[in-house]
Amino acid sequence: MSQLALVVDLKKCISCHACTVACKMHNGIALGDYLVKVLNVGPKGNFPNISKYGLPKSCMQCKKPPCESVCPAGATEINSQGVVIINETKCVGCKYCMAACPYGARIFNESKGIVQKCDLCASRRDEGLEPACVQTCLAGARVFGDVEDPNSDASRLINLRQGTTLLPHLGTEPSVYYCHP
């Protein structure tokens, strides 16, 4: 089994929001909606030990995705590459998955009447390209790859920097890792 995902190096991210823009352009995301968003964390701590960093957030490609189990129509599935995808012909647009996702990663596409999410740019990957957010990241903070292949750049970065996941206590087993500054 492979597990495609992102590893984000928070030491490199400069919160420029280029990933947000690239994602919106490539995926045609409506005004006010986002599949990738950069959160501003901090400033926190006491001088001189103060930290402030950007936290780019998108679908965590969970191994146990709540969005999948709650879907009444069975429209969300995990594909052979470990990517959580929506079957557009099955989605009824009930938005239960949006309520269930702890990361706020799903949006409602008003024009199509269905829910939309990050599929790590499946159409770009078919052409041998990286996801738009990864290619555009000028700081090189986003590493894309198979986090279950121990020899991938993504896995090496996780091991080297002891990458962590978001809200691990919820048991969703996210595949997107963050390497803290």
Binding site: P66, V70, A73, G93, A99, E110, L167
Partner: protein
Amino acid sequence: MSEHKPIWDYRVAAYLFLAGVGAGSFAISGIYYFVLGEMMQSAVEIAAWLGLLLVACGTFLLVSDLGQPVRFWRVLFNIKSSVMSFGAWTISIFMLLCFLYILWGNTTVLGLGILFGMATAAYTGVLLGILKGRPFWNTSLLPVLFLVSAFSTGIAAVHLIAVSMGHNLNAFRFLDAGFVMVELLLLFFYLVIMKNSTVEASRSADELIKGRFSRLFWGGVITVGLFIPLVLHLLSPRISVLASVLVLIGGYILRYSILRVGNRTLLPGESFEAGWL
């Protein structure tokens, strides 16, 4: 922008409410029929119609909220893991049982109707209760609260129809007063537990107690929906019709305000927003 817009609006709140009233009225009238006998016959007949029509109206509202309403039948096909799928079956079977009872008036059908009515009413709370990323909802108190509210609003609805048809159902006012008291107690415990739970659950509770939804909560749910009806019910049978109207209004506002304050667990860098995150 749209992240702070509620994912579900008044239509879903109305569905939670109507499913509760319809299912609750048939279940509670059925229970009283088995306990008190023939004197409850007219109440059960009214409740069977209410169950069928109100739950159908609620389901219609829910379907109209779908992005793809014509695909609504697909929700029946993930029963092994989706609570919503399970609920869709429960509601369908409940409506069928109401219909069969209207046709035959069979007591076996009534017994099953009580079971599926209670399941339907509780399911509206389970729907929200299983979402572990939304701490204010993620509690088994929610299905219990919605079930009690369904019994109370169900009695109120049967009472109103019965009175308008000239039946004497004065006994109902004491039954409803009992449920209203239990509901006040449950709401109190719910908020106390949430205040002492996670940061997000506590903030959601604050939104009801002293935040953006406090007027709706104290005015609509507690005063109009529970406290005044309780006093009216106990005072006089003549004004208890008004009490039933208020109980129904309060039942809707309860669903709506709980639906609106269910924020998700905060990520680093996120702050609590009134409305939905």
